[in-house]
Structures are given as structure tokens and as C-alpha cells.
Amino acid sequence: MPVAASAIYFLNLRGDVLINRLYRDDVGGNMVDAFRMHIMQTKELGTCPVRQIGGCSFLYMRISNVYIVIVVSSNANVACAFKFVVEAVALFKSYFGGAFDEDAIRNNFVLIYELLDEIMDFGYPQNLSPEILKLYITQEGVRSPFSSKPIDKPVPNATLQVTGAVGWRREGLAYKKNEVFLDIVESVNLLMSSKGSVLRCDVTGKILMKCFLSGMPDLKLGLNDKIGLEKESQLKSRPNKSGKTIELDDVTFHQCVNLTRFNSEKTVSFVPPDGEFELMKYRITEGVNLPFRVLPTIKELGRTRMEVNVKVKSVFGAKMFALGVVVKVPVPKQTAKTNFQVTSGRAKYNAAIDCLVWKIRKFPGQTESTMSAEVELISTMVEKKSWTRPPIQMEFQVPMFTASGLRVRFLKVWEKSGYNTVEWVRYITKAGSYEIRC
């Protein structure tokens, strides 16, 4: 029986209860105490998100400054429980507009109780779609204080839609200007050895969509992925036009995407939910274009001096540029004095994280930049060998660049009223875990 939760608690970092909702009687009432005693106040915190205490299992995750704890006593479906928490938080965010933190919970706790009642019943997740819930949970939180006017009775067909087949979109939407925004967001993960060979490299990407479309539109998205293109040229018996194609390792879609059609025709077609949602996620391991090359040389000169030299090369197009580039070079704890020379940006020593932090606001493509630093160490009796070099880490964002090479070829919108739509497409590549050993 895939029960997801017997009880759910929201705690702040001190362990005060913000929300508690007991769904089933099979867990006792003092579960918060157990969690505080055995997890929060011990070193256990953060060592494992699933812990067993007594006969109960605690599944917890931290989101901003709130711990969300699920307690179960049976053999629960963990993946389901965590996904439920994530979805529930997304739902709360869409209700109170943006942030999810302790204050937001305190300000909206009645609303949260109301929602918790709807989204889970006796431990079984029910409907979590914001679109539908907003039809009948109309309370607006503190943003607009309660007025004395009577709350609208839910639209008559709301309950039908609660469980209807197109559960993610409501009928009768109308916009003056029909617009679709597509954001392709990629994060590139890299692990490079000290000798400069790529140990591991992949890209996880997602396509975020914002739809302001009237009626019940049918959308079709074309990408430059290999399988989709091959299928298309096969269907139209037309040779594949030139251009780079890419191979997606794996794709997952929002529930609105017609998966049967994707499997047979390799096209992404769907009736989108209204507003913002994540259309698809994908993963690529072959043919990744790394936006940056990092060439570090670190020399230890005797016991008290080090010479750090880091060269960063941007290898994306010359017309593009990267924003918010940060290079973190770890140095030993006993660093006393640092001396920098940089060709661009600014560098300083951050003692809190034992790193030389080099920041460059804007980094044009096809250029290179270097930082050289002299580091003086306090001489200690502790053996030098105890310093193990953690990897250099890098952060950046490159707009209009995709590390995977993914491109949107077309986005078609069909609606029976035949209106015109405006489509906007943006690309951005961010650093995921971009690590270079030295």
C-alpha cells in the first residue's frame, strides 16, 4: 500500500512547529519531539534524509529555513512522499506568490491547513494541481486581507474538473495578446582531472514555459534532436536538412505531453496548463560543449608559500558573453596573506570558505583571463600533507548558449479560433557542479 504519509510537520530551524497535520492514527502525537531529539539536536541532521526511530520512519527535507517532515509507520513509497513535498511546496508558492519560508508559512497558516486537507486524504495524495485547486480554494492569503464580501461559490463545474481528464487546464481562458515564453535552461556538470582530461561531463536541461493563451490550444514543439529529425524526414520522405543535431540521452515530460504521440512520432505535442510550468527535462552526456576551460597551476614553494596561477578560457562564440563568473580556488586553512594579479575582474581571499574567490562580471567569448596569486602561509608544526586539495569550482551563466547545442526549431500553436501568437525563446547555460581538480 503506497501510503505517502501518516503525518506531516513543518518546523523552523529551531524546531518550533509551524504546521502539523496528522492524517492517520498509526503514528503517535509526540513525533515532533522524537524528530527534534534524535535528528535535529544531533549530528544526524543532514546525514541522511530518511531515518527510522522506534517504529516510525522520518523523511525530511529542508526548504529555505523550514524543515518539512513526513512521518510514516508502514513501508511507505519514499519517492512518492518526497515528490509530494516538492509539489506541495510549489503549490504553496503559487498561492502566496513566490517565497516559501518561515514567515510565509506563519502568515498563511490557515490557507496551508486548508490546502493540506485537500491535497492529501488519509495519507494518499489527492489533487495537487494549482490550476484546479484555485477554482475552489479561493482564499488569497494575507496579500489581500479578508473582505466582508461573501466568498464566491465555486463555479458549478469546478468539482467536475477537479478530477477531469485535462486536469491541468481550465476552460474558457481568454487573453488579449496570446504569448508563449520558452526558456531553455541548462546546467552543465563537469569533473576534470588535474591533468586536464574530462572525467565526467553531462548536461541536465529543462524547458520552462509560460503560456498566456486563450481557449484550448494544441502546441507542438520541434527540437534539433537526432531521433525527432530522423523521424520527421522519414515521414516526409525528405532528406534531412543540414545543421547540428544532438542526441538526448533521456527525456521526461510534464503530464500534459502526449507520450504516446512522442513515442510513435517523436514530436512533443501538448495542451499546456495556463501560466508557468516545466515542460520537459532532458539529459545529455555526448557532445557537450564546455563553455570554459580552466588551466590551474599551483606550486607549493617551501612550507610557507604557494603560487597559484589560474587561466580561464571562454570557448563559446565571440559574440556571446558570460555573466557572473566566479572561480573559487581552495587554499590551506593557515593562509595568512594573499597578493593578486588579475587580467580582468576582482579577486580576494575569503577565509570563511578557505578559497581565493575571483569574480568577473562579464566574460566575452573566445577570450582568456588569468589570475596569479601569491599565498603566504602561517608556518605550523602540523604536517603539510594534511592539506588535501579540494577541486576548483566555477560558477557562471551564459545567455543564448546551450552546452548541449539544443535548439528550438519551431513551436506551433493551433486553436480553433485561429488567433496569432507571439513566441519568445531564450537560452541560458549555467554551471551545475563545475569542478576542476588541481
Binding site: 503506497p2 519517492a79 516538492v86 497558516f109 469546478a158 557542479s433
Partner: protein, 844 residues
């Protein structure tokens, strides 16, 4: 309006602490004033007050004294007010059953409201009151709720039935709710109603199945072909959460032929692309279970799973990816070869949480083979320098494990030896243990290793395991290490400072071994060690010292043959988890079992389940005969595995010529030296194994006397009851009989210390009981807790079975036994037989 901030309270606030007493009475007054008021704006003030009450309730202030005032204020048309009031009532109704009666009236009225939302809300609240004497008021609204025209109300009602069942099972069954649910389940047009019916029916039938034949049939009916097809064909209509439910049900379905299997897989293939990880995992479970009997396809399923699983691991929050990674881990462990080319996915990132790193390290270890070992070991060596010490240790152990499973180990041995040069205490400690294991398997490397190990000062090694390993090597290779006798001597000198008994035991043995090889240099140390050992307060150390002393006194050359026989290399190191347990974990794919890496019965709390626990468990224990066969096969496989490993112990034993007493102790010695490598289970089961055919129970008591161990003579003469040596009973019948028969005997026994020592794996007991004509039908558990289900059959009456449930805790040496018998009059005789069999355990 925010809940009061608790900052003024003590650092560890106890929720039951009654704070704000005056505030509560203040609230009471205000509520009372508002209760009758019909002035405009009353609802707004009520809201504010209700919010205060709820916020007090949340932080644990007891506001139950406001119950009657809250109920009085609840007459309102404001939905939000109603909800807050319902929440309050649901929370405190159980503590105030009489007052809860007051709320029934307005809840029942709301159940007839024209607005479906209100109807649904009221019904849900009515069902959450959880007061036993109010159930009569529940039946009516629930019945009409199930027939409501609104899907929302039906959805609430279908879960409501389950809530009623948990309050009062009898009322729920008597009102015929299950069959109404079933009708809804098969015919309702609303997918969420169907899903909720499914949840309720599954839970109700599972719990009922122990007492009612009908429930068993109904439970099976849920798994019938028409139902499964009906659900799967409309799977896209279900919400993502309901899909998880349906898929979980489908994973238990047994298709009639392979065409059906392929049909289902084709139908569900697109679910693997779903963004919800829980749906993907549920689909994978269906695929894996469907193809269990088809080896090739099963492997293809693994291949197909890879990409979606890796995607799920690399996206989402760390907690989510941990949940998925644990499942991937399980698959990798089951079929490492299939993942050997994906090893790079298991590389750790610097900032990953350690629980993720740990799983990844285990996977890296498992997938290492000839083609990727070099890369993997290089990567692991990077982690050995990690800041996170536990992970660094794990990585070193991983390198060692890879070395133990590979043939081409030169490079790895070099790497390990490099670790010793890193001069970090924990690295050295871990490495020493590994080098010792390596030498036991690859004695040919002793030269290279000994040269490096010899340079390590024993003063730098503090951890008992590492120290024991170093001492073992000093003893074993004393002829190659120049100053071995002197190092040992200095260790003996510091005997009193050595806190670990394990180290002292090893020291004794090592000194003795060294003595056999280099007598003049070691004689002094040996004398000191034996004297210190005899004076030792630790029983084992003392006993071993005494044993060595007497052995040496009796015959030195014999002592050498016993303590220091030529050794054969260990071929396979034992796996700690039995394959049976692994299979059961696999059966529970997509649940907590996978994360805990143990079957669910080990961690779900049984006290709450009461009498139902048994059948449920047995149901999952042996699903049909097929799986029982599998279990037996795997057991056999394991037995042959044992033989492989144990060939050494047996051979050593055979070399010792025939003298009963000390021959018996020889393997005993080996056991303790082997315990270092976490393989006591196998060597001890070997003791049982090898001796089983040769010694009859009677002779074993003779041996006891000879050894003078002073054990109570627990063996009673066998009672006249004769059992059939080869009884037959299929798991289904067993389960039914267990459900039907009353407990004829229930008792707690104490096991002999020998027995508990021998009982390191369930198989030991199984074989033992088999030799007494008592067969095991299912077993499980992990030290120290084991659970067994046995059965036996009267030799002269084939209809008379004895069924036994036996819970054994090896650490407290207690056995809890429940016996059920077809022939109740014979149960006492059978119990005596069973007890005598149990008491012989470990001595036969």
C-alpha cells in the same frame, strides 16, 4: 495574523507546556460573545479568533477547553470559518467524545448542503472525528456520499469508508460498504474516485484477509485480468499519484503468458518518460516483476531502465535523487555487469551529501571489472584524500574490495601501499585491514606488502581493527620481518594498556606463531604473553591463553599443527546479506525497504497492527509456490557458495589427526581469527556442516563432557511422537491453516549459548531442524532477530500438521514459539520434540 512567536520560551520548548492560560480564557470569553451575534462583520471577527485558536493548537497549547464555544460559533455560511472549525473539532474530538456529539448535528446538516464542496468538506470532517461511539452517525452520510452526484463528494466518501473501517471494522463491513466501494471502483467515471476506492479496498481486504476467506478472494479479485486491464487501459486518466497506486497494483499481477507481458509493457512504456519520479519507479517495478521469469527480457528491462533512472538521479532535490539512487543501487547490485560501462555516472561530486557518496562508492565497487578497474581505482584514490573522513575510509575499503574481486591486482596493491605512505592515521588504519585481507587471498604478494608494512610503527596505529591486522601480519610473516619478535615483545610489554580484547587475542596467537618460527627470539615474549593472558579479566582472552598453554604443555608439535597449519588462500569472501533477504527486498521495490536495505517486516512497527500482522507478512513472504521454489534454489546456491569459501577451514581441520577434543576446537580457533574479516557466519556454519553427518546428537553431548564446558544437559529423550521425515505442505495451505487454527501452545525458551553462537544465518537452523523432520516454509531476519515458520507432519496421520512460528533473538538467546496443530492433543508432545531439537542446536 501570525501564530505567536515562541522566542520567549525555553530553548527546548515542550509542546504540552501549558502557556498562555490567560489568553485561552480570554479567547473563550470573546468567542462566547460572538456565538449568538448576527451583526454584520461577525464572521470577520470570528475568523480572527479562530485563527488564534488554530495557531495555539499548532504550537501545542492545549485549547481543548474552548470546544463548546467553538462549536457554538460554527453555525456560519463562511466556508473558511467552517474549515477552521472542522480542523479544530477533528483535533480535539477524541479527547471530548461527549462534546463531539454536539458537532454531529451541524456536520450532518452540512452533508446535505446544496453545494458539493460543503458536502464533501463536512463528510471528510465527520470521518476524521475518530470517536468510536459516533460511528452510527457516520453510516448514513457515508452511504449517501458514495452515491452523490458530485465526483468530489464521492472521492471524499470513498476514503471515508477506509477511515470508518479503522474506527470500527465491524460497522464498516456490516454496512456493506466494501461492496459499494467495489461497484464504484469498477464503474465510476471519475478517475480520482476510482483511485480512492482502490486505496480503500486494498487496505480493507488486506487487513480482513486474516479472518475472512471472502476477503482473500476479494483481494485476489483486485488482481484479476479484467480489473487490471480496465485500470491500465485508462491509466492516462489518473492523476500522477493515482498512477502510482495503479502501477503498484499491476506489479503484483501475474500474466498468463508472455504475450500478455509484452502487451502490458508496451502499454506502459511511455510512463518511463513521466516527470514524476514516483511514477517512473512504479513503472519500473511493474516491468521488473513481470519479467522475473524471463531472463533475457529481464536483462533488457535493466538496460531500458538505465536512462530514466540516471535522469531522475541527476535532477530534483538531493532527497529525491537519494530515493531514486537507492533503487538504482539495488539494480546495480543485482546485475553489476549491465552497468559496467556507466561507471562514470557514479563518480562523486565534491559537494554531494555523504549519503549519496556512500551509495555511489558501493556502486563503483560493484561495477568494477577488467575494462574499467583502472579508471575506477584512480577515481577512488582521489576520494581517499577527501576531507570527509568517513567517505575517505569508505573509498579505501572500496579499493580493497575491488582488489579482492579482481584477478589483476598488481596496480591496486601498489595503490594500497601508496596509501600507507600518506601518513594519515585513518588511511593507514583502513589500509592495514585491507592489506591483511589481500594477503589472505593473494599470499604471493606478501613480499611487496611486508616490506612496506614493516616500516609502520605500531605506535601510529591505534584503531583496534587495524592494530589486530598489523599483529596478525607480524605473526603470520614473522620469518620475513626482521624485528617481528621484538615488536611483538614490546606490544606484550604494554599488555595492560591495550583495551581491546580483539587485539589481545590476536597478540596471543601472533606471539605463538612467531614462536614456532623463531623460537629463541620469541620465547621470552611468549612466556610474558601467556602469563598476561592467564591473568586477563576478559574470558575469551583468558581461555585462549589457557588453551595455548595446555596445548604447548601437551605436545609442542601438535600445538604448531593446530595454531599454525599451512594455510590455503581464501577464494571468496562472504557476502553479509543472504540472497533470500535480497530477493525479499527486491520484491518490495519502490518502498522504504530499498532505502533501509532490509525487508519491511524488520522495521514496520507490529504493535500497531495487532493480530493482522501475521497473515500480511506471510502473504508477502511466499507469494505462491513459485517464489518459494526460488527461495530454496537461492538457498542451495548459497550453500554451494559456502563450500567454496570453506574449503580452507575444512582442509585445515582434516589435517589435524583424530583426537576428539582439540580437533573440535581447531575450527573454533579459526572462527575467532576469521571474525576480523566479517565472515564468522560461514566458518561457524561450516562447523555445523562438516559435523552434521558424522556426529549423532548423542555423541555431541559426550563431546560436551569431554570439553568440560559445564553446559546443562538439556537433551531429553525423544518423546514417542513420530514425525514424517518428508512432509509436504504448500505455502498457501500453510497460510490458510495458520489463519484458521487457534494457537495451541505459546512459550518462550532459552537457547543454549552454543546454539545462539551457531545461529548466524537462518540456514543453520533450517538444516538443523530438517534433520529433526521439521521443515521450514519461510524464514527471514538478520542478526540478532530471526523469524521462522516451520511445519511438521505426524508420521502416522497425514492430515495432522503442526505449524510453528518461531522468533529468535540471538543476542538475548531467547526463542518465542507459537505452535498451532491440527491435532491439538499431540501439540504438547510436539512441543517437547521441538524444544529438544532447538536445545540441540549448535551441538549436533
Amino acid at each position: 495574523m501570525a501564530p505567536p512567536v515562541q522566542s520567549s520560551r525555553s530553548p527546548s520548548p515542550s509542546p504540552s507546556q501549558p502557556s498562555g492560560k490567560s489568553e485561552v480564557s480570554d479567547l473563550k470569553l470573546q468567542l462566547r460573545n460572538l456565538a449568538g451575534s448576527r451583526a454584520p462583520g461577525t464572521d470577520d471577527s470570528k475568523r480572527e479568533l479562530f485563527k488564534k485558536v488554530i495557531s495555539y493548537m499548532t504550537i501545542g497549547v492545549d485549547v481543548s477547553s474552548l470546544f463548546s464555544e467553538m462549536v457554538m460559533c460554527s453555525a456560519t455560511s463562511d466556508v473558511v470559518l467552517k474549515k477552521m472549525c472542522y480542523l479544530y473539532v477533528g483535533n480535539y474530538a477524541r479527547g471530548n467524545p461527549d462534546l463531539a456529539l454536539l458537532t454531529i448535528n451541524f456536520l450532518q446538516k452540512d452533508c446535505r448542503d446544496e453545494d458539493p464542496m460543503i458536502r464533501g468538506l463536512a463528510l471528510r470532517s465527520l470521518c476524521t472525528l475518530r470517536v468510536a461511539n459516533l460511528v452510527e452517525y457516520l453510516v448514513g452520510p457515508l452511504g449517501s456520499g458514495l452515491k452523490d452526484s458530485s465526483g468530489y463528494v464521492r472521492m471524499v466518501a470513498s476514503i471515508g469508508v477506509l477511515k470508518l473501517y479503522h474506527i470500527s471494522a465491524a460497522v464498516c463491513i456490516d454496512s456493506d460498504f466494501p461492496s459499494m466501494l467495489k461497484a464504484l471502483f469498477l464503474n465510476d467515471t471519475d478517475a480520482q474516485v476510482v483511485a480512492n476506492c482502490l486505496s480503500s479496498l486494498q487496505e480493507i481486504w488486506t487487513l480482513e484477509a486474516s479472518t475472512s476467506e471472502e476477503a482473500v478472494r476479494e483481494k485476489e479479485a483486485l488482481l484479476s485480468k479484467p480489473v487490471i486491464y480496465h485500470l491500465l487501459n485508462r491509466i492516462k486518466a489518473f492523476s500522477e499519484w493515482a498512477q502510482c497506486l495503479v502501477l503498484d497494483l499491476a506489479s503484483k499481477y501475474v500474466p498468463s503468458d508472455s504475450n500478455e507481458i509484452f502487451d502490458i509493457m508496451n502499454l506502459l512504456e511511455d510512463r518511463l518518460q513521466h516527470a514524476n519520479g514516483a511514477v517512473v519507479l512504479a513503472t519500473i517495478k511493474v516491468f521488473l516483476h513481470l519479467t522475473l521469469s524471463m531472463n533475457d527480457v529481464h536483462q533488457q528491462v535493466y538496460e531500458r531502465m538505465k536512462a530514466p533512472l540516471l535522469t531522475l538521479v541527476s535532477t530534483g532535490s538531493p532527497e529525491q535523487s537519494y530515493a531514486v539512487l537507492s533503487h538504482l543501487h539495488l539494480l546495480v547490485m543485482r546485475a553489476p555487469i549491465l552497468f559496467s560501462s556507466d561507471y562514470k555516472h557514479f563518480y562523486c561530486q565534491y559537494n554531494e551529501p555523504s549519503y549519496v557518496k556512500k551509495l555511489k562508492l558501493e556502486m563503483l565497487t560493484a561495477v568494477a571489472n577488467e575494462s574499467n578497474t583502472y579508471e575506477i581505482v584512480t577515481e577512488l584514490c582521489e576520494y581517499a584524500a577527501n576531507v570527509d573522513v568517513p567517505i575517505a575510509r569508505e573509498s579505501i575499503r572500496a579499493v580493497g574490495k575491488i582488489a579482492l574481486q579482481q584477478y589483476d591486482v598488481n596496480a591496486i596493491v601498489d595503490r594500497l601501499l601508496q596509501f600507507l605512505e600518506m601518513e594519515k592515521d585513518y588511511v593507514t588504519a583502513e589500509t592495514l585491514v585491507l592489506v591483511k585481507d589481500l594477503l589472505r587471498k593473494y599470499p604471493q604478494w606478501s613480499h611487496d606488502c611486508i616490506a612496506v608494512v614493516g616500516n609502520i610503527s605500531s605506535k601510529n596505529v591505534q584503531e583496534p581493527k587495524a592494530k589486530a591486522a598489523l599483529i596478525w601480519m607480524l605473526g603470520e610473516y614473522s620469518q620475513d620481518m626482521l624485528d617481528a619478535p621484538y615488536i611483538l615483545e614490546s606490544l606484550v610489554d604494554n599488555w595492560d594498556d591495550e583495551h581491546s580484547a580483539e587485539v589481545r587475542l590476536h597478540l596471543l596467537t601472533a606471539v605463538l606463531k612467531c614462536f614456532f618460527r623463531r623460537p629463541p627470539e620469541t620465547q621470552k615474549a611468549l612466556g610474558a604473553a601467556l602469563a598476561a593472558g592467564l591473568a586477563d579479566s576478559h574470558q575469551d582472552v583468558h581461555d585462549r591463553a589457557l588453551f595455548y598453554y595446555r596445548l604447548l604443555q601437551y605436545d609442542v608439535s601438535l600445538a604448531e599443527r593446530v595454531v599454525d597449519p599451512p594455510k590455503q588462500a581464501v577464494s571468496v569472501f562472504a557476502d553479509t546479506q543472504s540472497s533470500e533477504i535480497k530477493d525479499r527486498i527486491f520484491d518490495e521495490f519502490n518502498s522504504l525497504s530499498i532505502l533501509y536495505q532490509k525487508p519491511s517486516y524488520m522495521f514496520t512497527d507490529k504493535e500497531h497492527r495487532g493480530p493482522f500482522e501475521f497473515t500480511e507478512e506471510l502473504g508477502s513472504l511466499s507469494v505462491g509456490e513459485e517464489s518459494a521454489d526460488n527461495v530454496i534454489q537461492s538457498r542451495r546456491f548459497e550453500a554451494s557458495d559456502n563450500d567454496l569459501l570453506l574449503s580452507t577451514t575444512e582442509k585445515e581441520e582434516n589435517k589435524v589427526p583424530s583426537n576428539n577434543g582439540s580437533a573440535y576446537s581447531a575450527p573454533d580457533y579459526d572462527v575467532s581469527s576469521a571474525s576480523l574479516v566479517a565472515m564468522p557466519g560461514h566458518s561457524e556454519s561450516a562447523v555445523l556442516n562438516t559435523n552434521l553427518p558424522t556426529h549423532a546428537p548423542q555423541s555431541s553431548s559426550g563431546i560436551d563432557d569431554l570439553l568440560g564446558l559445564g553446559l546443562p544437559a538439556t537433551i531429553s529423550s525423544p518423546p514417542p511422537l513420530k514425525l514424517n521425515a518428508k512432509p509436504v505442505l504448500d505455502p498457501g495451505t500453510f497460510q490458510r491453516k495458520w489463519g484458521q487454527l487457534p494457537i495451541s501452545l505459546s512459550q518462550e525458551d532459552t537457547l543454549s549459548p552454543h546454539g545462539t553462537a551457531a545461529l548466524t544465518t537462518p540456514q543453520v537452523l533450517l538444516r538443523h531442524m530438517q534433520s529433526h523432520s521439521i521443515q521450514c516454509i519461510a524464514s527471514g531476519g538478520q542478526a540478532p532477530n530471526f523469524k521462522f515458520f516451520f511445519f511438521a507432519q505426524k508420521a502416522d496421520d497425514t492430515a495432522a500438521f503442526f505449524l510453528v512460528e518461531c522468533l529468535i533473538n540471538t543476542s538475548s538467546a531467547k526463542a518465542q514459539i507459537k505452535i498451532k496443530a491440527d491435532d491439538g492433543s499431540a501439540s504438547a508432545a510436539f512441543s517437547a520434540l521441538l524444544r529438544s531439537a532447538l536445545s540441540e542446536l549448535g551441538m549436533s
